[in-house]
Assembly symmetry: C2
Homo-oligomer: 191 residues x 2
C-alpha cells in the first residue's frame, strides 16, 4: 500500500535496527483518515471471505479494527490483556509474550462473543515475532470459529512471525512489509 | 440519545445497583454502526467548537473516539496507562485511580501530540466517579490546550463525577445518563 509506505518513510522514526516508531499517526496519535484508507484496503483483500467478525487485541489495534469493521459491516471484539471485573462468565484464555513490555499477558475473550458461527478477520497494527497474532489465532481455534486471515498494517518481515504463520497456512496480509531498517538509511520495504 | 438508551435497556445487564455491563456492544464487543450514530451525535453537540483533536484513554474509549473523529475530521490521541518503551521523549503524566481495577495508573501523553494550539474534545465510554476524566483534563491543562468539553457515552449520574466536573465549568455531554439501576427494575435514565 503505497500511501502507507510513503507515510512510514515520511513520519516514521527508526531507532537502532529494530524499533520503528509510528506513534504520530498509528498507535498513539491516530490518523483516522489514513485508517479509512487502510480499512478499504483490507476490504479489497478479504472481500468475499465471509468475514462477520473482526478480532483485535488492546490497545493500539482497536482504532484500526473499528474503522476496518465499518467496511465489513460487522462488529469488533477486542481481546483483553488481563482479567477484569467487567467481564462476567466464561472466557477463552491464551498467553501472549510481549517483547516490548518484557512480560507475559493472559489474553481473554468472552465466550459470548466468539463461536463456531463466526468467520474472523484478525486486525493488528504490527506483526514482528508473531506472539500476539498466534495468541489471537489460538482464541479463534478455541472458539471453533473459522479464520479468514490476518490483516496487519506493518510487518517487520525481517522477524520470523509472518513467515512462520504463513507456513502454517494462515493467510497474512500486511500492508507494509519492512525488509530492513536503520537510523542512517531509514526503512526499506519488501517489494 | 434514544437509540442508545433503548440499546442499554435491551442488551445491558445490571449487577447489583452499581455495575452496568454493556460489553456486548460497547466495550468488549463493539457495534461500530452504533458508534457511527454516537459520533454523529457528538458532532451535533460540539459542532462549531473548533475541535481539532480528540483525546481518550485506553482501551475501551479508543474505538468510539476513532469513529467520532471521522465526523470531526481530526486525529485521535489516546492516553496510555503506563510508560512503555514505545514512547520516546517527554510526556505529560497524571495519575488516575481505577475503581474497577482497584489500582492507580500513571497515565501519559506524548508532548508532541498535545499543545497550546489544540482544542480538545475528550471522549470516553463511561463517566462515574470522574477519575479518568479528571486525569485527561489535567493532561489538557498541562499541555496549555483548550478544552471544548467531554463527550461521554454512558454517565452514571448517581455517582458524583459528572456533576462535580460540571460545577467546575467543564462542558460534559453524556448521551445516556443513568439515574438508578437494579437487577429487578433495570436501568432508569435521567430525563
Amino acid at each position: 500500500m503505497e500511501l502507507l509506505k510513503r507515510r512510514i518513510r515520511e513520519d516514521g522514526t527508526v531507532r537502532g535496527t529494530d524499533v520503528l516508531k509510528v506513534d504520530s499517526f498509528l498507535n498513539h496519535q491516530m490518523d483516522v483518515a489514513l485508517f479509512e484508507e487502510i480499512g478499504g484496503e483490507f476490504l479489497r483483500r478479504f472481500d468475499g471471505c465471509g468475514v462477520n467478525k473482526i478480532l483485535t487485541i488492546e490497545a493500539s489495534g482497536i482504532g484500526i479494527a473499528c474503522v476496518t469493521a465499518q467496511f465489513f459491516h460487522c462488529p469488533v471484539v477486542f481481546a483483553k490483556k488481563s482479567q477484569t471485573k467487567n467481564i462476567a462468565g466464561e472466557v477463552y484464555t491464551t498467553k501472549v509474550e510481549s517483547f516490548t513490555h518484557g512480560r507475559v499477558y493472559d489474553v481473554i475473550v468472552s465466550k459470548r462473543f466468539l463461536g463456531p458461527e463466526d468467520c474472523v478477520l484478525i486486525i493488528d497494527d504490527f506483526l514482528a515475532n508473531g506472539a500476539a497474532l498466534e495468541g489471537l489465532i489460538d482464541l479463534v481455534n478455541q472458539a471453533g470459529a473459522r479464520l479468514a486471515g490476518a490483516g496487519i498494517v506493518i510487518e517487520k518481515a525481517f522477524q520470523p512471525g509472518g513467515d512462520r504463520l504463513r507456513a502454517k497456512g494462515v493467510r497474512v496480509e500486511s500492508l507494509a512489509r519492512v525488509k530492513s531498517m536503520s537510523e542512517e538509511n531509514g526503512v526499506e520495504f519488501v517489494e
